[in-house]
């Protein structure tokens, strides 16, 4: 079936029969010539008999061409979408959550085809994502909407149907709803209110939706759970990823998930070192935020050292100072016990010292160094500490008064004290205070101005219970009570474990409800709909209560999935909450259903117009043939078009070769972008003039080089400005470039974008281009690279920009700095490629009068910058032409000595 976008144009077909008369065009009227000799000509027939009338086939050809053109302009479409015969405005709704990420491209293609169809019908279109902030969708002309479609991405949360139901546009409209097919709260209500406005068609994809539930730890193993919709038997792979020992992100482990009834479970048993490195779990398959499980701290198993002075063993176990700590920490951490001297070398994350008052100097020193490197020292008070004089102890957060304070005991009048509310700045803020925690004995801090700042928890009489102080990169925390139940009931309460948790001591495992409230969490990395991670930038902190909500209901726009940090703790909020269930959506009656398959809709406009053009070309040939001038025209065309060009090529090739070999010629690679090429040429011209002026190098005029066609061997140096749309060289060109690099040529790649983000189009083009090149390992130019001293002594390499890093071939790993030498001996360190991003040619560029072509920097600083750019250029060309000559000077003292100077 064929439909037309502009059927009225078809009326022009009426004119085709008229064309029959017009196009019959007889060849030009003959010249009438009175000539007596006509008597002799009578009966002479023309040798090349030319038809007086246009031959019928030529006429047919022309009429076909006109018909094809008319049909083409009428915009015919083969198999136009059926559903869109209505002319009402069309609302295209996406659920827009992570559940659609797997088949998002199909959804966009479907939406684009719907918009195309609407455009043909002249329907206004609005596109809305239910996951976006609610707002009234605006109907616009279809062609304006079309451009925006490609930019839509799914969100890492799920749709909020209720909010959207209140913001429907006015008037009647049809809706096409590209849905994830999952049941959501409010979906029936929204569907019903859409139905009230017009027809609703629901399109669902065929790709299964996978959701990775929050991973828990169970007996040291990772328990991975996943859901699949539609329920069915399937197998998927879950991959644990994280940094390898060299910091490179890579796969650390994988496990198989076998889905049964839409649910799968797998246990991953990883060695602690490996497990601590896991940053995320990913289900292998189409990327989606739902199949990404960020780890945060939850997989971490800390190594905690317990140190106590008490000679244990003899006493009762329940009285042992470390008993409760052991109980609290054992599920989530690896414990070491021993003396300070024994545990420090094991590099624990935390060292807990219960009632240790004084340490030998060496141990105290070792401990101090360990804390300053980032360790967390947790100390508990006790009788020994109360008795000791710790005034000068660095490893105490506050100064203590000698002796303890006992209240509520048999020997005192006061009642045992309870806990006061936690201060605002305390990491414990938000924890529920159990009423039954009482403190009978404590050590008291010496009052001072800093005491309030370092206090994390108070008793109800205002005396500190927990204090903290930073020391170097680490910190020291003191509980002013004992670690056992001797002085207080704190170690017996659940609060104790939560406090340890908040101090990132026992952190690990699934997040417990309430463990986040009261704190403000700063987003560090955010997840996008496809499960990619991006920096959160300067996003404002999110209150813990909101994050708590996400644990139950999944993330939402104000609290998106990602990694959040508060002090030392890092919390991962994943797209899929713990109690997530997937069920099929229920749709009201009267909702049409469909899938994402594209109609085999083909716009025939292009092919028809092409056909018309082809027919017209045939007509030209036919007309020429009929008038007997085909051969003549062909010969003329051949003579004009091809012959001179071929000759010119040969001639210029030779002339180029001669020009390029008459001296040193700097060359730049022609990119096809006229502006860039002109700038490169002017830049090399400026550099050549400066070289002539300042050095013994006297280059000739620079030349542009087409890497596909031209010989490279003549040029010692190629400047290659990389444009975003640069063509990838052909295999032959790569072979030529590699030969060029191997035989001593140098290429300076310049992305000209000052490294504005590693993903800039130029950088991507550079990666694409250099894939086929033999490029050695690179490093940012080291301070002692020979390039820094081939002519000028330089440490900065500015061009028009100053920020870009210059990358050169990496120094061999065994390069060492000789004694007394200012630089390493990097012989043969002539780098074949230099990568820069500072738009060097623009800084070097001069116009015909030798004046700078483009502004660089501001004022005098700009002049300096240009001067340094020239110096870099001169150093570079010197490096190209003299190789490691300057590097060889490392031997000068030895040579002089040998010469007896």
């Amino acid at each position: 079936m064929i439909g037309f976008a502009s059927p009225l144009i078809l009326l022009a077909l009426v004119a085709v029969p008229v064309l029959w008369f017009l196009l019959r065009a007889i060849p030009p009227a003959p010249i009438t010539r009175r000539f007596p000799g006509v008597a002799l000509m009578l009966g002479l027939a023309d040798e090349n008999r030319q038809a007086a009338r246009t031959p019928w086939w030529l006429l047919l050809l022309r009429m076909l061409a006109v018909t094809a053109a008319v049909l083409g302009f009428a915009g015919p479409v083969l198999n136009p979408s059926e559903a869109n015969l209505s002319r009402k405005p069309l609302l295209i709704l996406f659920d827009g959550g992570w559940a659609e990420a797997a088949d998002w491209p199909q959804r966009l293609a479907k939406a684009a085809s719907l918009i195309d169809a609407a455009e043909r019908m002249g329907r206004p279109v609005a596109v809305a994502l239910l996951t976006d902030a609610p707002g009234v969708p605006v109907f616009q002309a279809a062609d304006q909407v079309k451009g925006r479609i490609a930019g839509l991405t799914p969100r890492p949360w799920l749709a909020d149907m209720d909010a959207f139901a209140g913001t429907l546009p006015e008037g009647a409209f049809d809706t096409i709803w590209l849905s994830d097919g999952l049941s959501h709260d409010g979906r029936p209500v929204l569907a019903a209110s859409l139905q009230a406005r017009g027809e609703v068609t629901v399109l669902t994809g065929a790709a299964p939706v996978l959701a990775l539930l929050p991973t828990t730890t169970e007996a040291g193993k990772l328990k991975v759970q996943a859901l699949r919709f539609p329920a069915g038997e399937a197998i998927a792979t879950v991959i644990a990823r994280g940094p390898d020992p060299s910091g490179q992100d890579r796969e650390l482990a994988r496990a198989e998930l076998t889905f049964q009834d839409g649910r799968a479970e797998a246990l991953m048993d990883l060695p602690p070192e490996l497990r601590n490195r896991v940053t995320r779990l990913v289900i292998d398959g189409p990327p989606s935020a739902g199949t990404l499980g960020l780890a945060g701290d939850s997989f971490k198993r800390r190594k905690i050292a317990l140190v106590s002075d008490a000679a244990e063993g003899e006493g009762l176990q329940l009285l042992a100072p470390l008993h409760y700590l052991r109980q609290a920490l054992a599920p989530s951490a690896d414990l070491i016990e021993g003396a300070v001297a024994d545990v420090v070398p094991a590099k624990p994350d935390v060292i807990v010292m219960a009632d240790v008052a004084t340490l030998p100097d060496t141990e105290a020193e070792a401990l101090r160094v360990w804390v300053e490197k980032g360790g967390l020292l947790l100390r508990f008070a006790g009788p020994r500490m109360a008795a000791a004089d710790l005034a000068d102890d660095l490893l105490m957060p506050v100064r203590l008064r000698a002796g303890g304070l006992t209240s509520g005991g048999t020997m005192s009048w006061g009642e045992p004290k309870g806990l006061a509310a936690f201060p605002d700045s305390s990491p414990f803020r938000g924890l529920a205070l159990p009423g039954d925690v009482t403190v009978r004995t404590q050590v008291l801090a010496e009052p001072g101005p800093e005491l309030a700042d370092s206090t994390l928890a108070l008793l109800d009489d205002g005396t500190p219970l927990v204090t903290r102080a930073g020391l170097g990169a680490g910190q020291v925390v003191l509980f002013h009570v004992t670690a056992n139940a001797e002085w207080s009931s704190l170690p017996l309460s659940g609060l104790f474990v939560q406090m340890l948790d908040r101090l990132a001591i026992s952190a690990g495992g699934a997040l417990e409800p309430g463990s986040l409230t009261g704190l403000t969490w700063t987003p560090k990395r955010l997840v996008d709909g496809f499960g990619g991670l991006e920096d959160a930038g300067g996003l404002a902190g999110v209150p813990g209560a909101m994050l708590e909500r996400t644990l139950k209901a999944g993330p939402f726009a104000a609290a998106p999935a990602g990694l959040y940090q508060n002090e030392a703790r890092v919390v991962a909020i994943n797209a899929v909450p713990k109690d997530f269930r997937m069920a099929e959506a229920g749709w009201p009656d009267g909702v049409a259903r469909g899938d994402l398959s594209l109609p085999q809709e083909r716009a025939l406009k292009g092919p028809l117009l092409a056909l018309a053009m082809a027919l017209m070309t045939l007509d030209i040939l036919g007309t020429l043939a009929v008038s007997g001038r085909l051969m003549r025209v062909a010969v003329v065309l051949l003579a004009l078009g091809f012959v001179p060009e071929a000759r010119a090529d040969d001639a210029t090739d030779d002339a180029r070769a001669i020009m390029a070999t008459q001296g040193v010629v700097l060359a730049h690679v022609l990119t096809g972008d006229q502006t860039v090429d002109d700038t490169a040429e002017a830049g090399l011209q400026g550099l050549s003039e400066e070289l002539m002026y300042r050095t013994a190098i006297e280059p000739l005029a620079p030349m542009g080089v087409d890497i596909e066609a031209d010989e490279l061997a003549f040029f010692p140096f190629l400047y290659w400005p990389v444009t975003a749309d640069a063509a990838t060289p052909s295999a032959a060109a790569y072979a030529k470039l590699n030969r060029y690099l191997r035989t001593g040529g140098m290429i300076l790649f310049d992305t000209r974008d000052a490294e504005y983000g590693a993903g800039s189009p130029e950088t991507q083009a550079l990666q694409r281009i250099t894939q086929g090149l033999d490029i050695p390992a690179l490093e940012p130019i080291p301070q002692d690279h020979v390039l820094t001293r081939t002519f000028y002594l330089l440490q900065t390499f500015p061009g028009r920009f100053t920020d870009g890093t210059l990358w050169v071939e990496a120094a061999p790993p065994d390069a060492t700095q000789a004694e007394g030498m200012p630089f390493r001996n990097l012989n043969d360190g002539v780098t074949p490629v230099v990568f820069g991003a500072n738009d060097y040619a623009a800084a070097w560029a001069v116009d015909g009068d030798g004046l700078p072509l483009l502004p660089v920097g501001r004022g005098m600083a700009g002049d300096d910058q240009r001067e340094y750019a020239y110096r870099f250029g001169i150093n570079l060309i010197m490096h190209v032409l003299t190789g490691n000559y300057k590097s060889d000077q490392v031997h000068v003292p030895a040579l002089l000595e040998r010469l007896g100077q």
């Binding site: 060849p27 030009p28 009227a29 003959p30 010249i31 009438t32 010539r33 009175r34 000539f35 007596p36 000799g37 006509v38 008597a39 002799l40 000509m41 009578l42 002479l44 023309d46 040798e47 090349n48 008999r49 030319q50």
Partner: protein, 296 residues
């Protein structure tokens, strides 16, 4: 005015009078040019080189029996014993009939040259001047019988100055003085049958003469291109071609064939044939014609 009306212009018709006056202005130059052209032909001996009727002394010869007495030149006979007869050179005047093709085809000219008819008339007049001077009787076919004397000259001019006929191609008017001479000036592009008939008649009457074909160089070169509709000067014939240039070779072949045919006809009748075109100087044709007339 046509050849069918050979009388003097009817001056009563107002248009004709004006044209006649214009003609009167043009005649003296035509005559002057013809005279000038005639001057260029040097006079040779043009006696008949045999005894005959004439004024000039030719020779004395011994009288035969039968000679009239009055034929005897007594003065010369007295000098010797015999009787001599004084013979005079034969100076019988020739009757020469000129025919200048008056058809429209002669009006053709190309490239800024004068029409063929001008050249034909000029040649005819110049030839007439020469012949009249030589004492011959010159007439114009269809217009005036051959006569001698200066008066004949004016009559010839008047007849020649008449307008061309409406016919496309001319046919010679048979009407010769027996044993006279004839000169046909035409392009001979039309049907040759009337010419053949005229030549046949001429041969029968013992008339010999010249065929002078006057052509325009364009007719010799055929410098035409492209799609062309050729028509005869009066429009009775036409021929259309898509590419005139393609036609050239075959046209030239036909023209050569026509010339050969004319030469054959002339030879068969004992006539002489010359193809002359208006691009060439008239003298050569005139000289050739004069010499040829002398020889025949």
């Amino acid at each position: 005015m046509t050849l069918s009306d050979p009388k003097a212009p009817d001056l009563r018709a107002p248009g004709l009078r004006a044209r006649a006056e214009a003609l009167g202005h043009s005649l003296p130059p035509l005559l002057a040019e013809a005279e000038r052209l005639a001057q260029t032909v040097t006079w040779g001996e043009h006696g008949r080189r045999r005894a005959g009727r004439g004024d000039d002394f030719w020779q004395y010869r011994a009288a035969h029996p039968g000679d009239e007495y009055r034929a005897i030149d007594w003065r010369h006979s007295a000098r010797s014993d015999g009787a001599y007869v004084r013979e005079k050179e034969w100076q019988a005047a020739q009757k020469i009939t000129l025919w200048v093709d008056p058809a429209q085809s002669m009006a053709f000219s190309d490239g800024g040259r004068a029409p063929k008819s001008d050249r034909a008339r000029l040649l005819a007049l110049a030839l007439a001047v020469l012949l009249l001077r030589g004492g011959e009787q010159v007439g114009l076919a269809g217009a005036s019988h051959p006569r001698a004397g200066k008066g004949q000259m004016l009559r010839l001019i008047e007849s020649l100055a008449l307008d061309l006929s409406q016919a496309d191609y001319g046919a010679p008017i048979p009407g010769f003085a027996p044993h006279g001479r004839a000169v046909f000036l035409s392009d001979f592009l039309g049907d040759l049958a009337p010419l053949e008939a005229a030549l046949h008649t001429a041969t029968g009457q013992g008339v010999r003469g010249l065929l002078i074909q006057v052509l325009d160089p364009a007719e010799e070169d055929f410098p035409f291109h492209g799609r062309t509709l050729f028509t005869s000067m009066a429009g009775s014939l036409s021929h259309e071609t898509q590419s005139a240039a393609d036609l050239r070779a075959r046209y030239l072949a036909r023209l050569a064939e026509r010339k050969d045919r004319l030469a054959d006809l002339a030879r068969a009748a004992g006539w002489q044939f010359l193809s002359h075109h208006t691009g060439a100087p008239a003298q050569t044709a005139l000289l050739w014609a004069y010499r040829a007339l002398e020889a025949t």
